[in-house]
């Protein structure tokens, strides 16, 4: 009961029990997707879900904590590579995939901790963080791009340079079949829904209150007795965990990762999703992530040179017309219609 109350807390869209129906409807729709599409379409659809934790990580660090980071793709990529190294060296051992997930997340978060130490304990100015995380990402990309050849290998796994690491093991539970199509879709969906619920509980808890307080006024939060350096450090690590989960899901989906995933273009993606959806709502960012990745894919199947223009235009229009993000604005309009109040 207490958890339920926490779930419908004040710091995300949907604070009433009736909005619980909307969430349930969304979850049902996502659950029903495989019934409507073929095996491979379910696999393609799973890609939209795979990106959600990455979007959520930006929502958490930027939307809730007020620190914009372009570096989330770095932890995404690191986790993908680490999973490939760990699971790839343990092929055939039951449970190796699960060990891979844990090890990859741990290693990636360790790297995040080093970076976060530089950022938050130096108390750098807020506007510098987006750029320095971007530099960090590009540094990793440059390094990974030149790791072709046999000297760059971990156990039996080649890093693969610019062409990427190939043959990364799919997800399986112990000695079950590798997940593909419908089964992978449900696995990703379960993963994402659990993460979403967990994160929603976190932001609505009293810890979430401190996080939001830091966004509103860092100095006052500090004067209230919180060590904001430690708190920001902690939130940054949590966001890195989320991004890492996305990275692991991604390589389990495509069995493949390249340094391009850490490039300039990729780094902007989750920030765009968060901005379009409404960055201070987990729900809005999740929906925007699905919609934007779907939109990009749908345009590419048209075989037209206009697709990037459309993506750019959609982004500009969404930001110009909807101050708080498209999903948040629409949600609040509807909420007003229904209840007369928010």
């Amino acid at each position: 009961m207490n958890l339920l109350k926490l779930f419908f807390g004040p710091r995300d869209l949907g604070r009433t029990k009736t909005s619980g129906l909307v969430f349930a409807a969304f979850a049902l729709m996502l659950l029903a997707v495989p019934a409507m599409v073929s095996d491979y379409e379910a696999m393609n659809f799973a890609f939209f879900l795979v990106n959600i934790p990455l979007g959520l990580s930006v929502a958490l660090i930027w939307g809730y904590c007020g620190v914009l980071s372009f570096g989330q793709v770095a932890f995404f990529g690191l986790a993908g590579y680490f999973y490939g190294m760990v699971a790839g060296n343990m092929v055939g051992i039951p449970g190796s995939e699960i060990i891979g997930i844990l090890a990859a997340t741990g290693l990636s978060v360790f790297v995040a901790a080093i970076l976060a130490y530089f950022l938050f304990f130096a108390r750098v100015e807020n506007w510098i963080i987006p750029v320095i995380t971007l530099v960090f990402t590009l540094l990793l990309e440059t390094f990974l791009s030149q790791t072709a050849g046999y000297q760059w290998r971990v156990g039996t796994v080649l890093l693969g340079g610019y062409n990427g690491m190939t043959g990364i093991p799919s997800m399986r539970f112990f000695s079950g079949d590798p997940l593909y199509g419908y089964s992978f879709y449900y696995y990703a969906l379960g993963f994402v829904i659990l993460l979403f619920i967990g994160l929603r509980l976190f932001v609505n808890s009293k810890y979430g209150l401190v996080v939001v307080a830091m966004r509103e006024n860092l100095q006052r939060t500090e004067l209230l007795g919180y060590d904001v350096r430690v708190w920001q450090f902690g939130v940054f690590l949590l966001a890195a965990v989320l991004a890492s989960f996305s990275g692991v899901l991604y390589v389990q989906w495509g069995n493949y990762i390249t340094p391009t995933q850490l490039g300039l273009v990729a780094a902007a993606q989750p920030v765009i999703w968060a901005a379009i959806g409404g960055r201070s709502s987990l729900f809005a960012v999740s929906i925007a992530t699905i919609l934007m990745t779907w939109f990009t894919f749908a345009l590419s199947t048209q075989g037209s040179q206009l697709s990037l223009v459309f993506i750019g235009a959609a982004t500009v229009i969404a930001i110009m017309l909807f101050k708080d993000g498209v999903i948040t604005s629409i949600w609040e309009k509807i909420a007003v219609l229904f209840s007369g109040s928010r």
């Binding site: 130096a122 320095i132 390094f143 765009i272 040179q305 235009a313 110009m320």
Partner: protein, 291 residues
């Protein structure tokens, strides 16, 4: 190998790299320092400059005449972007970042569809001079002069003219500046246009040394951002100058003796370390600050 020509060559390479960093970042620095907006379409504005000069040169206009035109075209583009989009976003600066990303994408892909994948490049003027084992491009030396000249000119503009005074006032304490009658939004429009103009000018002046292609802007973005961050926003001129010099001092010798990859990695690591040592940018370590 003789030592003196090697040192001369190192100095030349260093200055050339610094000039490149300054030219990449100068327009971005103004917009960021003035308005706190991270302009992700910066590379595309530079691309516009390069296209303007390339198109004019291919229709017979002498190269050096095209440079002022680049500046004006950049100002116009910047002014339009500011009027149509940015001015609605002053209360939410991070949205401006996303909008400029979208605009950059439209500009680059639009250019691809209108002008095709490549333009024929402009011939590099002047030629080269030789010293010892090394030869030096005269145009590269010209670029060095232009880059440092632009910084000097900007210094003059900001510190010796009434407009500069108003600009600095708006930059440092916008609210106080408003109370003494400075139209803040007008200052913002002007500086966005001016910053874009400088970016396009830099694109034009760098055009002979680069491939003219719709997505050419991306090559400038990372160096520009790194220079700006290391420099900090306290003082545009010294920030850019110190930052470009410090980064070059790492990249050039490392690159010369260990190769390009080491040079690039050295640049990134230098940026990270400098920011840790000096979180508010190198411009903040000025000893005699009046404030």
């Amino acid at each position: 190998m003789d030592l003196v020509p090697l040192l001369v060559s190192l100095l030349y390479q260093g200055l050339a790299t610094a000039a490149f960093l300054i030219l990449c970042s100068i327009g971005l620095m103004i917009i960021l320092g003035m308005m706190n907006i991270i302009n992700l379409a910066h590379g595309e504005i530079m691309m516009i400059g390069a296209y303007v000069s390339t198109i004019l040169v291919s229709s017979g206009v002498p190269f050096f005449v095209t440079l002022p035109v680049c500046f004006i075209a950049g100002c116009l583009a910047g002014y339009l972007i500011e009027q149509l989009f940015i001015r609605f976003l002053y209360d939410r600066l991070m949205s401006a970042l996303v909008v400029t990303w979208g605009l950059g994408l439209i500009l680059a892909q639009g250019t691809l569809m209108i002008f095709g994948p490549f333009m024929p490049s402009i011939e590099i003027p002047f030629g080269s001079i030789q010293y010892g084992d090394f030869t030096f491009s005269v145009y590269q030396i010209f670029l060095i002069i232009v880059a440092f000249g632009a910084l000097l000119g900007l210094h003059y503009l900001l510190h010796k003219t009434p407009v500069g005074l108003k600009t600095r006032a708006t930059m440092q304490l916008p609210e106080i500046a408003r109370t003494i009658g400075i139209d803040q939004h007008r200052m913002y429009s002007l500086s966005f246009a001016f910053g874009s103009g400088l970016a396009a000018f830099a694109g034009g002046v760098l055009a002979p040394t680069t491939t003219i292609a719709p997505f050419m802007g991306t090559q400038f973005v990372a160096p520009a951002f790194i220079t700006v961050v290391v420099g900090g926003a306290h003082n545009i001129i010294t920030g850019t100058l110190y930052s470009a010099s410090a980064l070059t001092a790492v990249k050039t010798p490392v690159g010369m003796f260990l190769g390009s990859f080491a040079g690039t990695v050295g640049l990134f690591i230098a940026a990270l370390v400098l920011i840790r040592l000096c979180p508010n940018g190198l411009s903040s370590i000025k000893v005699f600050r009046t404030s």
